[in-house]
């Protein structure tokens, strides 16, 4: 009996030690970038990992190498507009597929699902040619347009609208409400957490978008965060302090969203497996 108990203690001790190591590995890069943003480059490269006093200096340097507020605004603007439009367009489609089932719509829906298998690399060249032809290179609208109708989000919304009772929709019809009023007034409100999860998903997708903006955006004034980070880090002389600060500014908004809305975040990710 005592032996069994001892074994149990050892097992749980091993479990905690293991998990703490995993947590340390997960968190260390975050700590390193936080401390790095407060140290000058020379200190970071000589192994200092405590907090320093160079935060302001790094901020000035970062501002000297890029218009950081402009980049921040560009990223917020493209991500914000994209998120609103994407969840509007995809939720309507998901609702249409789920609540107005028909043979034709099912075929279209299967097409949506199948195209999740097409990698972006098999679309980017014609997309680039289209943008060039329409004289829409170096434009924020071009960053957003191609992925507004995201098959995953259409799928996600359709799955979630299954739980919305069709009887309520029928009752509203009897009361004389039109189809759009039903969707925008009646259906959207109780599905708030679905919309929140989808919004987080879309937000992250666009905030972190890299390859397509890299192809499209040419001028410094239009750059988003991923492009700025990439160019700062491939410069001939890399200033670690300002680069760390830039990474923090690019990551912090998402961390805040994640920490405050973890439940919806997890739902958004797991939604694909329902």
């Amino acid at each position: 009996m005592q032996n069994g108990r001892l074994k149990k203690y050892v097992m749980s001790a091993v479990m905690y030690v293991f998990l703490i190591i995993i947590v340390a590995i997960s968190i260390f890069p975050f700590y390193w970038m936080l401390s790095g943003a407060t140290n000058v480059s020379a200190d970071i490269t000589s192994g200092v990992i405590g907090f320093g006093r160079a935060l302001k200096e790094n901020w000035m340097n970062l501002n000297a190498s890029a218009d950081i507020l402009q980049v921040f605004w560009n990223t917020i603007k493209t991500t914000g507009i994209y998120t609103v439009l994407a969840i509007l367009i995809c939720s309507m489609a998901g609702y249409g597929f789920e609540k107005y089932r028909s043979k034709g719509k099912n075929i279209v829906y299967s097409m949506f699902l199948l195209s999740m298998m097409i990698p972006f690399s098999a679309q980017m060249i014609p997309l680039f040619k289209m943008a060039a032809k329409a004289d829409m290179l170096d434009s924020h609208l071009t960053i957003m347009l191609p992925t507004l109708a995201m098959p995953f989000l259409v799928f996600f919304f359709r799955q979630n609208f299954q739980s919305y009772p069709t009887e309520l929709i029928e009752a509203a019809r009897v009361d004389g409400a039109n189809e759009f009023t039903i969707f925008f007034r009646l259906v959207m409100a109780p599905m708030k957490s679905t919309f929140a999860a989808a919004a987080i998903y879309a937000f992250m997708k666009q905030w972190n978008n890299y390859l397509w903006p890299l192809i499209v955006i040419q001028s410094n004034e239009k750059k988003t965060f991923t492009l700025l980070l990439s160019s700062l880090s491939s410069a001939y002389y890399v200033d670690y302090g300002q680069l760390m600060l830039a990474i923090i500014l690019a990551t912090l908004p998402i961390i805040i969203v994640f920490l405050t809305m973890q439940k919806q975040f997890v739902e958004g990710i797991v939604g694909s497996s329902k």
Binding site: M124, I125, L148, I255, L259
Partner: protein, 292 residues
């Protein structure tokens, strides 16, 4: 009466779908089809002309392409199983009833997957650079007497990309496994424990079979993700040293926008990726079906 009503509502369904469908036709279907046509064309003076299978034959003699395909598969074969096994193990621990501070462990382990691919790639590049923290620590401990150029060594450069990806994506997969584990009724585990099954038996006989659909899903997602790997190699190694870490997507990008652009050849390679993805998905479904 009822039928007439049904028909009139059907129209509204199409209206709801129309916006997404229009965007989808213009920005997904049209590019995918045009790309497929481009795959059989080559540039000749400012125009593209049909050249049959030339682009596909060219691939088999293209050393850099073969290297990129090899690298991509190498990342996939090593990284995907390691990551999924780790994720499954961590999820099992996080699901155990006796664990305290669950919220803290969970949040910390999920945290890496909120970083952008570019941001974490740069962090890992800095950590493993010649004056990075890894060299500092190893020198401090006396393991190394002088800093090592990890990113200039092809084996190390590949290893670092794999390590970085495991760091970024393990927590993401833990989320899936944990959600699936929480759906297994607690009584199932308790009954097994009462019957005298040990931890490993429970893991093999209950956890794995119950999680099979989700393991299949995460495997397909991870292999597809790895086949499209771009941000990491672009920002950690730029594909170097000497193309030792370049991926297929990275090579497509180079063929389209870095070297003298050959959209035909680049499109052919991208359809090769589509083809490989389909084959892999079929194999994965086949394997998971057989075990039943």
């Amino acid at each position: 009466m009822k039928k007439r009503k049904g028909i009139s509502y059907d129209k509204y369904g199409w209206i709801f779908i129309s916006l997404a469908f229009t965007l989808y036709l213009i920005f997904t279907i049209y590019p995918a089809v045009e790309s497929l046509m481009l795959a059989f064309q080559s540039p000749a003076g400012g125009e593209y002309e049909f050249v049959g299978m030339k682009n596909f034959i060219r691939m088999f003699n293209d050393k850099i392409f073969l290297q990129s395909l090899f690298n991509t598969f190498l990342y996939m074969i090593i990284q995907v199983p390691l990551m999924l096994a780790a994720a499954l193990f961590i999820a099992t621990l996080l699901n155990s009833k006796a664990l305290r501070l669950k919220g803290f462990f969970r949040t910390s382990i999920f945290l890496p997957c909120v970083t952008s691919l570019v941001a974490y790639s740069i962090l890992f590049k800095m950590m493993f650079s010649i004056d990075g923290i890894v060299n500092q620590v190893l020198m401090h401990l006396g393991v190394l007497s002088q800093p090592y150029q990890y990113l200039q060594d092809s084996a190390w450069a590949r290893a670092i990309i794999i390590i970085a990806m495991i760091w970024r994506w393990t927590g993401y997969n833990v989320i899936f496994y944990l959600a699936a584990l929480q759906n297994i009724p607690k009584e199932t585990f308790e009954a097994a424990r009462v019957d005298g099954a040990n931890v490993f038996q429970i893991f093999r006989k209950i956890t794995i079979p119950q999680l099979k659909p989700i393991i299949l899903l995460t495997t397909i997602m991870s292999t597809n993700g790895t086949l499209q790997l771009f941000d990491e190699t672009m920002n950690i190694t730029q594909g170097g040293p000497a193309n030792a870490t370049i991926t297929v997507s990275h090579y497509i990008y180079n063929q389209s926008f870095v070297y003298a652009p050959d959209f035909g050849y680049a499109s052919a390679i991208s359809y090769m990726v589509v083809f490989i993805m389909i084959i892999l998905a079929i194999i994965q479904f086949g394997v998971s079906g057989k075990e039943d």
